[in-house]
Every structure is written in structure tokens, then in C-alpha cells.
């Protein structure tokens, strides 16, 4: 059984867990206690140039992990240059640096079994490092050079750009992924940063000048949080090393483009792509919440009940009772402006309308009937008791702390997280559902062979066919 996708875009948080959990079923099980774990705090420093550093020494293995979180993201690309942030991130190491040629970096790192990898997501870029203890100094020097002074060598830039274009040409190979991406694109509008995708026309014209300018703006010490854990010697000695590497890097103002406000047409629309495939992929989207809205706590519990796992309502009804789908789930994603609530499933074309009707019905049901106490309690237990898994290693723990700061959560967010979850009750679940769920005006996106559909799509609302491109 492959994992169903559980995405909750809620950032990790760290705290002592001491919520007790009384035991319900079955009675033969021993009494289960709470989870008492006081995660090490780690240390937080700010260098003179504004770079924030989190450190947690951990000498259980002779390795060091490090990550830099850079405040940028795909949503900040210029409209006519969508893909710029991704191309820049992809070339930090691969395009060589002022100090090290790209081939030299690859040879050195790969021979040592070390890694320096960069990536970008919607609202963050990352540069990660792994090094064995014996190689730390050598790898750290490359890492710092990659972060501060990428060279964007011409041949490597051309290669990476060609790769980005090929990935665009292949973006519809997997219809499941295509459905997820295109649903968001039409939900927010193809021109909105929350929904857009790189195009050949926005990647083709990118030049080395663009990459350098992008790097110069966002990759500045005062726009970066570093987190490291491992066997890096004493904390003060490692901090001194970081100062030596990054201390001379000067900070400066970072310019962020203005993101247009999210406008969601909250009337039922059905969009579809015709494709002759065995399964039909259905994505249903509703307006979600802004980051830092305290409604996230009851929403988290509500989502856990609705589509958070194999015992959730959607999985129980659509998968286990009706056998209509293998993959069915829901999740919500927070954004600075309105995020989204996603419910998805894959089913054969002959049963698509049954699955879609049930998706809609379950959202309606949870906002009309108060959920049983036991169900709400179970969802809370599930969240609270598995909280400790957010930081299975010292590096996970310290990078969670850094991420938490990156996304500007209130200072007491961590300490109140479990209490906030524990406070959610059936009333809060009902109110949250009533406030946020509007299945009747949700956006529906479908990819499949409509000739085999059991009912016309028009039964679910006004239909728009879009062509795959």
C-alpha cells in the first residue's frame, strides 16, 4: 500500500509534549501515558551582517548537516520571467563559483560522499549541506562560496536552461501531477503567482544577467537563516568558522515584488482536460486561510477528520466502504494571502460522478452535523501524539526552529501549539467547517476520458474544457 498523500503545509513546531491520552478501545490495551520530551533548545545567534544562525551540537554520528533558508520563492518571480528563481537556485552549485569551477566542486564533493544541494519552493529557497566530520572544513568552504558567489558559468547555465525547457515539455506526462498543478492554476488564475507555472516563453529569454541580479537581491546574509546540527566540534569554534566564512558578506535591502491580492471566483466552475487514461483524476478546491490565522488549529483537526488518513471520512466512504478510489485525501495549504483547501481522488471514469458527489457530500455533512466527541478527540490525539515525529533527528529539530522563524510565527506559537490543538472541540469543528467550507461553490478540476463518464460533467455546474499544453 503506497502512502496516501498527507500534506498539511503546517510548519513544524517544537515543545514539550505532556498531554495525557486516556485510552478508549480496545480495553485489553495497557493504559497509554503521555509523551514527555523536552527537545534541546539549540542556540540562536545573529551575525553582524544580519545572518541568523541556529546550532545544535550532536555527536552521535560523525557528520554535519546544514541548511540555509533564503527568503525568496517561486511566487516572487517577475511575471515575464517565471522560472528565474528556480533556475538561479539550480545553478548556485552547478554553475560553479568565483572560487571553485563547477567541475572541481562536483569532483571534490562526490569523491568525499558529501553533498551541497539547492532548491526552491513557493516561499523559500534552500541550500543544504552534508559532510562527514573529516571533510567538514573543505565542504563548508565550498558551501559558503556556493551561497555567496555563484559564477553561473555559461555552458552550465545553457545546460540547466535546456533542462528546464525539457521539463516544461514533459510536464503533462503524469496526469495525476498535471491535475494537481492545473487545478491550482485555474483556481488562482494563470497570471497569479500562487497558480502560475514556468513557460518556454518565460524561461527561454533568461540570461546570466538575470540570474546575477536575482542572486544579488535575495541571497544576502540579512535574508538568510542558517541551521546546522552535527558533530562540528564545539559550538563556539563552529560559530567562529561560520563568521569567518560569512562575516565579510555585506547585507543590504532586499526588494520583494508586490503580489497582487488573491481573487477567487467563489461560484461553482467545472474545468476539465480530455485524456484517454484508465483513471480519472478529480481535484476540488476551496478558498483556504492566510498564514497565522488562528483558525488553523480547528481547521487542522477538521481536516484530519475529513481527509487526513485512512480512517478519515473521505477515505472511509470513498475508499474503504465504496471501493471507488485508491488515493483520496484532503489537505489545506496556508499562504500569506488566501491559501486553499484541496480534496482529491482518482477513480475509474465510469464511477467519477459517484466519487465526486461523495467528496462534495462529505464537506456538506461536516458543516451541517456536529461531529461526535470521540471522533474529534481521536483526530486531536492523532495530531498531538504524533507531534514528536516532526523532529526525529537533531537536524530536523533545529531546521524546524529556523523554518518557524522564517515564516514569522509568533514567538509563543510553539509553546501553545499543543494547547491550541487540545482546545478544539466539536463546536469549533462545526463553526470552522461552516465558515470555510463552501462545497456548493467549490472549484472542480477533472482529467479523464469523458466519453466513459457515468454522468455528464454539466450536472456539477458550468463546464469549461481546457486544452493540455
Amino acid at each position: 500500500m503506497k502512502n496516501i498523500i498527507l500534506k498539511t503545509a503546517v510548519l513544524g513546531a517544537i515543545m514539550t509534549l505532556s498531554i495525557s491520552s486516556s485510552w478508549a478501545v480496545p480495553p485489553s490495551l495497557p493504559k497509554i501515558g503521555g509523551i514527555d520530551f523536552k527537545p534541546p533548545k539549540g542556540s540562536r545567534y545573529t551575525l553582524e551582517n544580519g545572518m541568523v544562525v541556529y546550532l545544535l551540537k550532536d555527536n552521535t554520528l560523525p557528520v554535519t548537516h546544514m541548511t540555509a533558508i533564503i527568503k525568496t520563492g517561486k511566487i516572487y518571480d517577475p511575471k515575464e520571467k517565471i522560472g528565474l528563481g528556480e533556475l538561479t537556485a539550480g545553478l548556485l552549485k552547478d554553475g560553479g563559483t568565483l572560487k571553485y569551477k563547477s567541475d572541481e566542486i562536483d569532483k571534490t564533493l562526490e569523491f568525499l560522499g558529501a553533498s551541497v544541494e539547492s532548491s526552491i519552493a513557493n516561499e523559500e529557497a534552500r541550500v543544504d549541506m552534508f559532510a562527514l566530520k573529516k571533510d567538514l572544513d573543505k565542504v563548508l568552504d565550498i558551501y559558503a562560496s556556493v551561497l555567496m558567489e555563484p559564477a553561473f558559468e555559461d555552458d552550465k547555465t545553457a545546460l540547466k536552461k535546456a533542462e528546464a525547457l525539457e521539463i516544461i515539455r514533459r510536464r503533462n506526462d503524469n496526469p495525476n501531477r498535471e491535475a494537481q498543478r492545473e487545478a491550482l492554476r485555474y483556481f488562482y488564475g494563470a497570471d497569479h503567482p500562487y497558480g502560475w507555472r514556468p513557460e518556454i516563453s518565460t524561461v527561454e529569454p533568461l540570461t546570466k544577467k538575470d540570474l546575477k541580479a536575482y542572486h544579488g537581491n535575495y541571497y544576502r546574509p540579512n535574508n538568510i537563516i542558517i541551521a546546522a546540527a552535527g558533530d562540528f566540534g564545539s559550538e563556539s569554534a563552529f560559530l567562529a568558522k561560520l563568521k569567518e566564512k560569512f562575516g565579510g558578506w555585506t547585507g543590504g535591502e532586499v526588494r520583494f515584488p508586490e503580489i497582487p491580492p488573491v481573487k477567487i471566483n467563489e461560484t461553482r466552475r467545472v474545468y476539465f482536460i480530455e485524456k484517454d487514461i484508465s483513471q480519472t483524476f478529480i481535484v476540488m478546491l476551496q478558498k483556504g486561510v492566510k498564514r497565522h490565522d488562528p483558525v488553523e488549529f480547528p481547521l487542522y483537526v477538521t481536516n484530519e477528520m475529513l481527509g487526513g488518513g485512512l480512517s478519515s471520512r473521505l477515505a472511509a466512504e470513498i475508499r474503504s466502504r465504496k471501493g471507488l478510489a485508491y488515493s483520496v485525501y484532503s489537505y489545506f495549504a496556508k499562504r500569506p494571502d488566501y491559501g486553499f483547501i484541496n480534496a482529491s481522488c482518482g477513480t475509474k471514469p465510469e464511477t467519477y460522478s459517484q466519487a465526486l458527489s461523495e467528496l462534495l457530500r462529505q464537506f456538506e455533512l461536516i458543516k451541517t452535523e456536529t461531529a461526535p466527541d470521540a471522533e474529534v478527540k481521536r483526530a486531536k490525539d492523532s495530531i498531538i501524539n504524533s507531534f514528536v515525529f516532526r523532529f526525529p533527528t537533531p537536524f530536523d529539530l533545529i531546521s524546524e526552529r529556523a523554518l518557524y522563524e522564517h515564516y514569522a510565527y509568533p514567538a509563543d506559537y510553539l509553546d501553545t501549539y499543543v494547547d491550541n490543538m487540545a482546545r478544539v472541540d466539536p463546536k469549533a469543528v462545526l463553526e470552522t467547517s461552516q465558515k470555510l467550507f463552501k462545497p456548493e461553490s467549490s472549484f472542480v478540476f477533472v482529467i479523464g476520458n469523458t466519453k466513459k463518464f457515468d454522468k455528464p460533467l454539466s450536472e456539477f455546474g458550468p463546464v469549461t474544457e481546457v486544452k493540455e499544453d
Partner: protein, 525 residues
Amino acid sequence: MKFTALIPCLLLLCAPLHAGAGTGDDMTKLKKLGAEVEKDAKFPPVVSYTMKNGLRLLILEKKFVPTVSFTMIFRVGNVDGLPGKTGLAHLFEHMAFKGTKTINSAGFSKEKVLLEKVETAAKAMIAEESKASPEPAKLEELRKALAGAEKAADALIVKDEYWKIYNELGEHGMNAMTSTDYTGYIVSLPSNRLEAWMIIESDRFKNAVLREFYRERSVVMEERRMGESDPNRLMWETLFINAFAAHPYHNPTIGWMDDLKRLTRTDADQFFKTFYAPNNATLAVVGDIKPEEVIKLAEKYFASWKKRPLPERNYTKEQPQKSEKRINVFFKAKPSLRMGFHNTGWGNPDIYGLLMLSEILSNGKTSRFYKNLVEGKQLALYANSGPSTPGDRYPSLFVILAAPKAPHTVEEVEDAILEEIDKLKKEPPTPWEMEKVINNYEASLVRQLESNSGLGMSLASNQQILGDWKFDWKVTDELRKLKPEDVSRVAGRYFTRDNKTIVFLREPDATQAAPPAAPAKGGVK
């Protein structure tokens, strides 16, 4: 389903991590229990213990957060299905989440009767469905009868109770997987749930009740359809069914749709009785636990699980391939290719030469494929390889996967791949290349130690499939023994034209424009 273990999960020793062997006092206690504590500093101090019923435990105490990961691996996979019953191992794996006589049931003695009615109705329906020309009206009636029987049985089901218990316990990553070779059940829990796990799982494997079978069978059919919609899965399936003519690696783990339609709960019950025996399983427990407590609780809850004789498993051996096989698959996606060359399995030391060769070809940006295909000639978007897919229990395939970058074609990529292999046949790899592979292997062994669940999976599957939980550590020694000429020798032996199967994924439009035999322009728009 696990397709590409490009390198199996790997481990390496590092003593300070493990609180395992603990004090002399702990050691004495463990010895008294009959457990064996690994003392060779080359390996982590895993505590091994075999119960009288044959269930083998591998325990490693590891501290940081108070959690523990459980991995139960059964040596039963899709290869062990009977003819006409492909997919049964995987469908059973789904059924193992449906409870026991006490979990998910509101009263088993009554429920049992209703479940038999479901089975009778289902068999009648399957019999009609299997006819050359089923009678539509009769079929409809039989389907309704099955639905009615299922509805009646629902009254005695406590729905999804098994999952709900684990949700409350705070499970993380509860899942299961079926491959050609094995079936694995995994979950991580807060470590003070150790006894709860023992109670639930011992019940699960002793007393599984396969309720809601026909609904779950539909879920698996949907899983199959999902795979049919994914060009990657389609290509792998096509490669295996063509490369293996006789050995059961031929069969898709998810099962043929036609077989799935005829599988019954009776089949699954029989499968459970045959293969889910303690002497066919290894349990790895890794995390913040005391090994002696794990052993005591395992004895308390698992000792009554009866040892059973396991069937002979001598399946038809794959005969040497005598012809090159070239297959075109048409699907609406950009072109790519999968290639397979038969290996001779992990029992033959050549496999280490193939492992080395694979890493030289495709590990990282300094690898030959990247340097020459992706970067130099700029033909490929990616090119990767692995020494043993789809399984490790029997001789398997060295696989290569690649995709061209437009306007280049799959044929150009194929030629370039073969050219790289030919170079290695003629000229051995450099010492730098081989040393790099070993360094990477050792570093990946260290990284594997970081995750409780990853480590548990490694220990249990290596024990159960390859016969030794220390397998990954020992691979390093095997790699070190290799000389550059050994790599050339295995390249020459295995990478022959008549040992090759190649699958091309082509867009339907392109095939109409150019017949499959002719070199197509490969999906350029």
C-alpha cells in the same frame, strides 16, 4: 511497490549513536534471555534473538526522541502467488489492515456467519463473470446479492477500528509494501506504546479476519488503474513482462486486472495460512527501547503464534535469453526508455562488479552517463541505472532508465548508453572512479543510521531476503575486493545484445507518422 533499489538501504557503524549494548548488567540480562549482542565494532550492536516459533527479532536501542520504529518483513511476495492469482500478495497486504476477531468486529461469532454469506455470493458472481458470455441480467442480480450480503455484514463491523487505534496512539508512517520478494509492515510510535504494538500486531498476524474483501479488491483495481495512467509504471511493467518469460518476476506485483477480478477471500485466507508464519518473518525494532523488554514482551504476545512448515519455493528458472527484445509502448507522454540485462543474482559475486559498474555509470554529476550523455552530447534529460530490479531473491535485471532531450531521440540515447558500456568493456574504470563509489557507499551507510525506520527496514529486509542483517556492511568489503578489470569483465559478460530487453515509450502521434521499425523523430512538437 518497490521498483528501483539503485543501492539497497545502507548502513555503517558508528558506535556513539547506540546506547544498545549498554552496561555489563544489561549484557548479562540479554545473554540470560538467549539473545546475541553484536560485538564486532564493524557493525552496530544489534541484539538478535530467535523465538522458538522461528520469529527473528533484531533490536537496536537508539536515543534522541522517545520514539520507536517497527518493521515486520515476511518472505512472501508476488513471486509466491499461484498461476492465475497474480496480485494476491499485494491484495493480502491491504487486507491485513482490516482487523482481527476482536478488532474491527462487533462480535465475531455472528460476523463469521455473515462473512461466509458474502463469500458464497461473491463466488457465484465471479463464476458468472468468468463465463465466456455472462448473462447481463443474471450478473446484475448476483452483484446485487453480493452488495446485500456485504451490507448485512456491515452491521457487525466496527469500521476502521484498527486504523483508529493507531491514530490515537500517535502513529507515524504506518504503511505496508509488497514487492516481488517480500511484504513489509511498518509503523513508528511514541516509545511508551511498545506493549500496545505487541498486543495489536500479535493479534493481527495470528487472527487476521479478511472482512470487506471485495471492496478492498476494488480499491486495488483502482490502484492498478492509477499505475496504468502513469507512463513510468507502464514502462516498468512492460520491461519485466518481456524480459522474464518463465520466472515469476514476469508478473506485475499489483496483479493482472483479469486475475484481480477472480481473486476470492478464500484465496487470501489460504495465502495467509500458508505464508504468514513466524518462521517466515523478521521483526526489527529500532528506537528508544530496552532490548530485554522487547524480547520479554515479544515472548509474552508472539510465542503462541504457531510455527508452520513453509512450502517449497522452487519456481521455474529463467532460461538464458537468446534474443534481443525491443518493445514499443504507445502512451501520451514524451519519449523515454527502460533497458534490462539479466544478472545472475546476489549469489554470484559478479553482482558486486555490476553494482560498481552501475555506480560508475550513473552516480552523480561526475558519472559517465551524466558527463557524456547529459552534459557532453546533451542528448539526455537523465540516465540512471541499478544492478538488481525488480527483486533480490532470484536472478534479476540490471536496469537502465533514460529520457532524451528534444530534439534527440530514444535511439540516439540508446546508442550513447551502449557506447558508454562498450568503453568500459574495453578499458577498465579508473581507480579514482572506483574509490569515489566506495566513499559514497560508506557515506550513505552513515546517513542510513540517522533514521529509525530506514534502519529497521534495512535490518529486517536484509535478514529476510538476503539472509544476513549485516549484508550492507559486507558489501563494502566486496566492493573493495574488486579490481578495475573485474568491472570490464562483467560488462563484457552481461551487456550483450541477446541478453537485452529494451522498452521505448513513444507518443501515439509519432508512431503514426513513422512505423515502429523506422527510427522515429521521437516526440518533437
